[in-house]
């Protein structure tokens, strides 16, 4: 932006940016707004300030249980798919693998298969194998979905750093295992954190696979969806939504901070 321009007369780009941000964030801001509204109906005019929905949220065991289910599945999926992603990224970027192209292609396929197709296919498979539907089946499906994302993030990170750093560690007497922990891991760490956050988020708000593959334990999106039929259940969901919104904001800011730190280190490793 032009430094000489007074703030009350923004240029075209600034106006565009403001409209864009409004468009994205205004709908989201309705969540916290109505979560503090005294009426149980989501409609203007607002009826006054209250914290009762937050209180009710804490006192709704079903909701908290659904939240915990989602967190459990999300954490497990994030850790496992990031681990697989890391191994795959290491293999793809560091070794000459026969048939690398087709293998990469097959791993990436879940990215482009419509979720509902994948869900039906998995449901057929799982019922054919007589495996009872549970959070385990949801987690399995989410891993299928999340591993390609983790791989994409980590491959770009692994490709970005100089192979001779690992050779230098070997040359200085470290084993392959210690080289990984002393050199590869710290340098790839920002990518690992990014991958953990990304895969957790994908799993946390995934609806279609969870809807098909869960039984009596709903994940949070399923719980929210089923609550929509009961107007009284909605305000605590709004309170939860607002809480998650604030938490994600904090987490993403933190992740971005880590990533920038990584980029700074990265830029210093060049010649």
């Amino acid at each position: 932006m032009n430094a000489n321009r007074p703030w009350w007369r923004p240029d075209g780009f600034a106006v565009y940016a403001i409209i864009y941000l409004t468009f994205i964030y205004l709908p989201v801001l309705f969540l916290p707004l109505f979560s503090f509204n005294k009426s149980k109906y989501i409609a203007f005019p607002l009826k006054g300030f209250t914290l009762q929905w937050y209180e009710k949220m804490i006192n709704t065991p079903d909701l908290l249980e659904a939240l915990m289910n989602s967190v459990k599945v999300g954490v497990a999926v994030a850790v496992l798919s990031t681990m697989f992603g890391l191994l795959a990224a290491k293999a793809v970027t560091r070794y000459r693998i026969p048939g690398r192209g087709p293998v990469m292609g097959f791993i990436m396929v879940p990215l482009v298969i419509p979720g509902i197709i994948l869900a039906i296919a998995l449901l057929i498979l799982i019922t054919q194998l007589d495996i009872p539907l549970s959070l385990w089946t949801v987690g399995f499906a989410h891993m299928l979905l999340c591993t390609p994302f983790a791989m994409l993030v980590l491959i770009s990170r692994m490709e970005g750093f100089d192979k001779s750093l690992e050779e230098a560690a070997l040359d200085l007497g470290e084993s392959a295992w210690m080289t990984f922990w002393r050199v590869t891991f710290p340098i790839v760490l920002p990518g690992i954190i990014a991958s953990l956050l990304l895969t957790f988020t994908i799993s946390f708000d995934e609806f279609v696979l969870a809807f098909f593959l869960t039984s009596t334990d709903p994940t949070l999106p399923i719980y929210i969806w089923s609550s929509l039929r009961f107007p009284t259940k909605i305000p605590p969901v709004l309170a939860l939504g607002a809480t998650i919104f604030v938490l994600s904001f904090v987490v993403v800011s933190f992740a971005e901070w880590i990533r920038r730190r990584g980029v700074k280190l990265e830029s210093s490793s060049g010649i």
Partner: protein, 365 residues
């Protein structure tokens, strides 16, 4: 000479159909500054990486200090490497970079600190220990890479074109420092470069490589003054080649009949060639002395006309057209006086003279 620090014994390396190093055998002596010199793709880096253990020979054996290395992984070899781009760990400061390889050395904290301080002293960067990798210049990174390798007290230090990324002035300074450092600590250096001037400046001996094979191993002076083959003569420095045939050959002198220079008599030559053999007469540009007035009838003299010239500051290069020769002859002249650039006028007659021991005679196929 019977106890080499490194011995290549019939070493070959193939990548699929490509032969990077072809059945190579030679020894490197203790305490030598030994360079592998050649154009890119000649196999010099592959050879170095096989010593480090990053590549495994397809055939043959590399002995380090008498021990076969085939089954030894890089982390157990008594050699350390300075990488082309230095490979300074970006997440560690200078101190921790230098200490990286000392984890299993069994030193106490105080001993290690002392060793690191000595290393920093050695590379003339005392007080830089807490600097981050991103706060170092190219030359400083190079020194940290050196210290990180030398603190391990390797039997051989491997250097993969370590000066390539530096600008000219800094490169020349680092060449002197590298040479002094090597003489100071007495460790064998195995140095890879494509820069012949660098190899000549630094090395005790140089192996000239081409297409996976070692063409010649000799001291810098010998490579330059008495190259063993037309390839080496052409590759190191500049050389004028004249086609000819040996007329007579004795222990003290050789005479060669050439079309461009007439009969050339050569003394102090190592060649084993005999009368009737096809030969190259090779003369370095700076060993042909230009004379701008007719010297009269004189041995080892030829006449021609001045062609284009190039002024290089300390010296001038100019081309001389000889009547019996299609390509002009390159002549280098030291600019000993400031007015010397005035002398070179195109198309003026010029006479070239050379000493009979300035000429190299090489076999011609």
């Amino acid at each position: 000479m019977s106890d080499p620090i490194i011995s290549f014994q019939g070493v070959s390396k193939r990548f699929g159909q490509v032969t990077a190093v072809d059945n190579t055998s030679f020894d490197i002596q203790r305490g030598e500054f030994f360079s592998l010199l050649g154009p890119s793709g000649c196999g010099k880096t592959t050879l170095l990486r096989m010593v480090a253990g990053f590549e495994v020979p397809s055939a043959g054996e590399i002995m380090i200090d008498g021990q076969p290395m085939s089954a030894t992984p890089p982390n157990h070899r008594p050699v350390n490497m300075v990488f082309q781009n230095y490979a300074i760990f970006p997440h560690l400061n200078v101190r921790n970079n230098i200490a990286f390889g000392m984890r299993k050395a069994g030193l106490t904290r105080a001993e290690l600190d002392k060793r690191i301080d000595e290393a920093l002293e050695l590379i003339k960067l005392p007080g830089y220990g807490s600097r981050g990798a991103d706060e170092l210049s190219g030359g400083q990174r190079q020194r940290v890479a050196l210290a990180r390798a030398l603190i391990k007290q390797p039997k051989v230090l491997l250097l993969d074109e370590p000066l390539g990324a530096l600008d000219k002035k800094l490169r020349e300074q680092m060449q002197i420092e590298l040479r002094q450092l090597q003489q100071q600590i007495g460790i064998t250096f195995l140095f890879v470069t494509h820069d012949q001037e660098e190899a000549l400046t630094l090395s005790d001996r140089i192996a000239v490589m081409s297409e996976g094979a070692v063409m010649e191993i000799a001291s810098p002076g010998q490579l330059y003054e008495s190259p063993g083959s037309p390839f080496v003569a052409d590759f190191i420095g500049s050389m004028n080649f004249f086609e000819g045939e040996i007329l007579s050959s004795t222990d003290s002198a050789i005479t060669v009949e050439t079309s461009a220079l007439g009969t050339v008599s050569v003394t102090n030559s190592d060649t084993q060639m005999t009368a009737g053999q096809k030969a190259w007469v090779a003369i370095r540009p700076e060993k042909m002395q230009p004379v701008f007035s007719d010297p009269g009838e004189h041995a080892n003299t030829t006449s021609g006309t001045m062609g284009p010239s190039a002024y290089l500051g300390d010296r001038s290069h100019f081309y001389v057209h000889l009547p019996q020769r299609e390509d002009p002859v390159l002549v280098a002249l030291q600019n000993l006086e400031r007015s010397m650039t005035q002398l070179h006028k195109p198309n003026q007659p010029v006479w070239l003279q050379w000493a009979s021991d300035a000429v190299v005679v090489l076999p011609r196929d």
